[in-house]
């Protein structure tokens, strides 16, 4: 798994967006934009390029929409879910980033936030 790290930022963001539940493409885009206060905007090309590669790597899978989502069903939309492998990879990436951050902090690289 180590060779998949570091994850490309777009991939990591998609995995975060799928952490709490299945989403379709537009929902992923909106989630990422909201979480980052609009600082990170995944463009459709980048999003679907990442989705394609993540499907190939087995990080995510396509799922049937749940009952809740079926109401606004547009049959063109597909829903994605993080696989166990995807979740492990995301956690590993988070840990890696945290360690990097820790080192940066201990060297005084970071201004004290809050």
């Amino acid at each position: 798994m180590d060779h998949s790290l570091p994850l490309p930022p777009a991939t990591f963001h998609v995995l975060i967006a799928l952490w709490e539940g299945d989403r379709h493409g537009y929902a992923i885009m909106q989630d990422v934009a909201e979480r980052t206060n609009g600082k990170v905007k995944l463009s459709p090309g980048t999003l679907y390029g990442s989705i394609k590669r993540m499907l190939e790597l087995g990080f995510i899978q396509e799922v049937r929409p749940g009952a809740a989502e079926q109401s606004d069903a547009d049959e063109r939309r597909r829903y994605y879910r993080a696989t166990p492998l995807g979740r492990t990879v995301a956690q590993a990436e988070a840990t890696r980033l945290a360690e990097v951050l820790e080192q940066a902090k201990s060297h005084g690289l970071l201004p004290q936030i809050g």
């Binding site: 090309g45 679907y48 939309r77």
Partner: protein
């Protein structure tokens, strides 16, 4: 609003087309849905802008990642089929290698532009007449052309001149090739000296010399302090003022001069004060550079006008002569018909080898495509786009071609190194400058890619054309239709055999001819003669001193033990030098626009015909009574007698030459004195040296034993007479004939035989492949036939016949093609006819034997099929 929505959607659909087909099929509708969602929530203009940028940024990425996938897939498949890859790469390497090498060779001979800036703007100017098209220009004519021409920015005038070079006072002088040039020579060509400078206007009659890079390296050990040094050139003190860069290789692609000397020095070097004053001595080459404003057509028209006024103003010297201007490139082809034909022939033949190689690879791919038909059908059935599959197949071909091309380049570099190492057996700076340069690289790359298309597309289209349902139903046995004798694979093999038949017949003709040439006498003796060339002028001798020197030398050499006879002649028969001269035959009616005929001649001393075993059919040899004060005489050859004294006896006839009336006192038997070729012998005149002076002569010493043994004693006699006199081209006539006179024939033969051998190898591989494949597909059928009683011999025979059938078709087609094509060889054939029966019989037999060999192994395998195993495997 609805209108806006629709056009925005249409816009997005268009954008999606930028993505690869697969990607679009997978995510297109989803992305459209996403776009519609955003359109509802976001302002229109920024959204459209953003979307556009996004598509332009990410679509190429998707294409690239797909390409990487295809390449990975291809490399994996290749690794799984090493046999397939090895044969394909070997075939391609031979095809690409042969073509790259042939191109480099042709490039060196003919195609490469001059090594000067803007070579396309260089033109040649010729004196044109019906007897001598593309003739050189006289110095006075050059001066007039230069002062009248407005279309030429400059004119580079040059003339080859033998020169001796003595680097230090106590060193031995060496014979070099000099080039007399005008002072604007290098400015016109726009090349600068690498060291020092080139000529200035006031250098014209000064003893200054510019060295070629090669000469500087060889004779001055690349010493940068050479500028300003004093050296002896042809016994005159010269100052070295410059060294040319290595990149400048001269105006002649094959002969590279060593020294550049101002033309104003010619009268002193040639010991002839009036050397530059004769309007009828046309021995200067003119290269012009077009001005930026004028085209070659305009310059041509202008030169015609200048030529006409020269003819008007100089009726004696310039009658029936015009000026002709053409681009340097065109001139090269116009004046070098034989070279151009050879180049065309070689490129055509190596092109055929490439076709054979491509047919091999196409056949391999086809047989694999059959095996993969199921895989492809399944991929098509589950919805893979045809474009995507085609792309995959083309990627495979291109990768194969690139690997094959790389291997071919390696092969070509060996071949080119060999070609570059060929030296004419001459002291002249002559060589074929074949190099593996960027041009050759570009050629081999494009040849590889063209072959990828050739061999890749046919199998690709064939597999895509296949009908999914039938392919899947038919299982593995698809496409074994034995009924179709002329399926694509068989056609390819027939074509290969036909091509190698053609190549082999051409090779066979050349080999037979070469062998015959080596055995036949060209009409004069080619043994027991020692040759040495010298030019006393280079040591400062004038005519009387030179004559006295030669006379004394001949007497001394004749008295050496082991010497039968010794004579001098200006040219060695079949040598690299020759001279011709305008001749008028008294009583012969010439065409109206003709005032003379141009005939090759050779001044010789008495006893020459006897020494060279060049018999006279009539009349007498030159003797000591033919002197400067006696009646001028000449000996013509049989061809000349027949052509100019038809129905009369040439003996006693008169020819006008150099303003003198010469009486024909002898007729010599026709011999191939100028070229070894199948063409009829041309008119030739021998003149007595006593009546026709030339400084540079070759000593011919006839010896009793091995002539090489007399080299030292003869050389010692020359040294005793003058220790400083440079002697060059020392070799026996055996060596000279074998390596020099036959040089061109040998080179052509070697090249074509190599090409032929490669063609044969490739088509044998091809035939073997097809038969082996056919046997492996028919294992079951053979098993059944054997189960119902066919014996092994029958099976063996049927497979052999299948192979021979294919080969037979190819041989027949190749024979017809060879009968049509062998005529182009007639220029290169001396003794053998272009349709030599024995070659046309022997080569098909050879090819049948080779085909039998290629078919035998698969046939034996077929005959060893065990019916039980074959049927059980189904």
């Amino acid at each position: 609003m609805d209108f806006f929505r629709k056009s925005a959607n249409r816009f997005y659909q268009r954008l999606l087309r930028l993505y690869p087909e697969d990607f679009r099929a997978e995510y297109g509708s989803e992305m459209t849905a996403l776009f519609e969602d955003r359109r509802r929530n976001e302002p229109a203009i920024p959204l459209i802008f953003e979307t556009l940028i996004d598509a332009l940024r990410t679509a190429p990425k998707e294409h690239f990642s797909m390409l990487i996938q295809d390449i990975r897939f291809t490399l994996r498949t290749m690794a799984k089929n090493p046999g397939f890859v090895a044969v394909a790469l070997l075939s391609l390497a031979i095809g690409v290698g042969a073509n790259t090498a042939m191109f480099s060779f042709s490039d060196a001979l003919l195609l490469r532009p001059l090594s000067v800036p803007e070579p396309d703007r260089i033109v040649r100017v010729y004196t044109n007449s019906s007897t001598q098209p593309y003739g050189s220009v006289s110095y006075p004519d050059y001066l007039d052309i230069r002062s009248h021409s407005k279309t030429l920015a400059g004119i580079a005038l040059s003339r080859k001149i033998p020169a001796s070079l003595k680097v230090t006072a106590d060193s031995q002088a060496k014979v070099k090739l000099g080039l007399n040039v005008n002072t604007e020579f290098f400015d016109t060509l726009q090349v600068q000296a690498a060291l020092g400078r080139t000529f200035r206007k006031d250098d014209d009659d000064q003893p200054v010399v510019v060295l070629s890079h090669e000469c500087w390296k060889a004779n001055f050990l690349s010493d940068p302090a050479v500028i300003g040094r004093s050296v002896q050139v042809s016994n005159i003190a010269f100052t070295v003022i410059g060294v040319m860069p290595e990149s400048y290789t001269g105006l002649n692609r094959i002969i590279h001069e060593d020294l550049y000397i101002p033309v104003g020095m010619l009268p002193r070097l040639a010991q002839e004060p009036s050397a530059l004053e004769h309007r009828d001595r046309r021995n200067f080459d003119l290269h012009g550079r077009l001005t930026a404003r004028h085209s070659a057509e305009e310059a041509h028209a202008e030169m015609a006008t200048i030529g006409a006024s020269l003819e008007r103003e100089n009726p004696v010297s310039n009658q029936n002569r015009s000026l002709l201007l053409m681009t340097e490139r065109k001139a090269l082809f116009a004046t070098n018909g034989e070279g151009a034909m050879l180049v065309a022939l070689l490129l055509m033949l190596s092109g055929l080898v490439l076709l054979t190689a491509c047919a091999n690879v196409a056949n391999l791919l086809l047989s694999r495509a059959r095996g993969r038909a199921r895989e492809i059908a399944i991929r098509l059935a589950v919805g893979a786009g045809k474009a995507r599959l085609l792309r995959q197949l083309i990627t495979e071909s291109v990768i194969l071609a690139l690997f094959g091309g790389a291997a071919g380049l390696l092969l070509a570099s060996f071949a080119i190194r060999f070609l570059g190492s060929i030296r004419l057996p001459s002291d002249l700076p002559v060589g074929i400058p074949a190099t593996l340069d960027l041009r050759a690289l570009a050629v081999s790359l494009s040849v590889s890619l063209v072959s990828a298309l050739l061999f890749g597309l046919i199998p690709a289209f064939q597999s895509l054309r296949s009908d999914v349902a039938t392919t899947l139903k038919a299982g593995d046995t698809v496409g074994t239709s034995r009924t179709r004798r002329f399926n694509l694979r068989n056609l390819l093999v027939i074509g290969q055999v036909a091509i190698s038949m053609l190549l082999l017949i051409l090779s066979g003709l050349l080999i037979k001819d070469f062998a015959a040439t080596a055995l036949h006498s060209p009409g004069f003796r080619t043994d027991h003669i020692l040759l040495m060339n010298m030019s006393p002028t280079l040591a400062g001798y004038d005519e009387p001193r030179t004559r006295a020197f030669y006379k004394e030398l001949l007497e001394r050499v004749r008295s050496l033990p082991g010497v039968r006879s010794a004579v001098m002649a200006m040219h060695v028969p079949l040598g690299f030098t020759s001279t011709n001269i305008p001749v008028v035959v008294e009583g012969y009616q010439m065409r109206r626009d003709q005032d003379s005929v141009i005939i090759d001649f050779n001044p010789v001393t008495e006893g020459y015909f006897q020494t060279m075993r060049l018999p006279l059919v009539e009349g007498r040899e030159f003797n000591t009574h033919d002197t400067e004060s006696s009646v001028p005489v000449a000996i013509v050859n049989q061809a000349m007698a027949d052509q100019y004294w038809p129905g009369r006896n040439a003996l006693g006839g008169v020819i006008l030459l150099n303003g003198k009336r010469l009486q024909v006192v002898g007729i010599s038997r026709n011999a191939q004195l100028r070229e070894l070729s199948g063409a009829p012998v041309k008119p030739f005149v021998h003149l007595p040296f006593n009546q026709f002076y030339g400084s540079q002569m070759t000593l011919h010493v006839e010896t009793e034993g091995e002539s090489a043994h007399l080299t030292a004693p003869v050389l010692a006699e020359i040294r005793r007479l003058d220790a400083a006199l440079p002697v060059a081209e020392i070799r026996t006539i055996e060596d000279f004939f074998r390596e020099g006179a036959m040089f061109f024939n040998r080179l052509v033969m070697q090249l074509i035989v190599t090409i032929g051998a490669m063609g044969l190898l490739l088509s044998i591989i091809g035939l073997y492949g097809v038969i082996a494949y056919s046997v492996s597909r028919r294992t079951k059928e053979i098993g059944i036939r054997m189960a119902i009683g066919a014996d092994r011999a029958t099976v063996l025979r049927s497979v052999l016949l299948e192979g021979l059938g294919l080969a037979g078709f190819g041989i027949a087609i190749g024979l017809l093609a060879a009968m049509g094509a062998s005529g182009v060889l007639s220029t290169f054939l001396v003794h053998v006819g272009a349709r030599d029966v024995s070659v046309f019989l022997a080569i098909p037999l050879l090819l049948i034997a080779a085909s039998l060999g290629a078919t035998y192994f698969p046939a034996r395998r077929a005959a060893q099929v065990d019916p039980l195993i074959a049927l059980r495997n189904e």
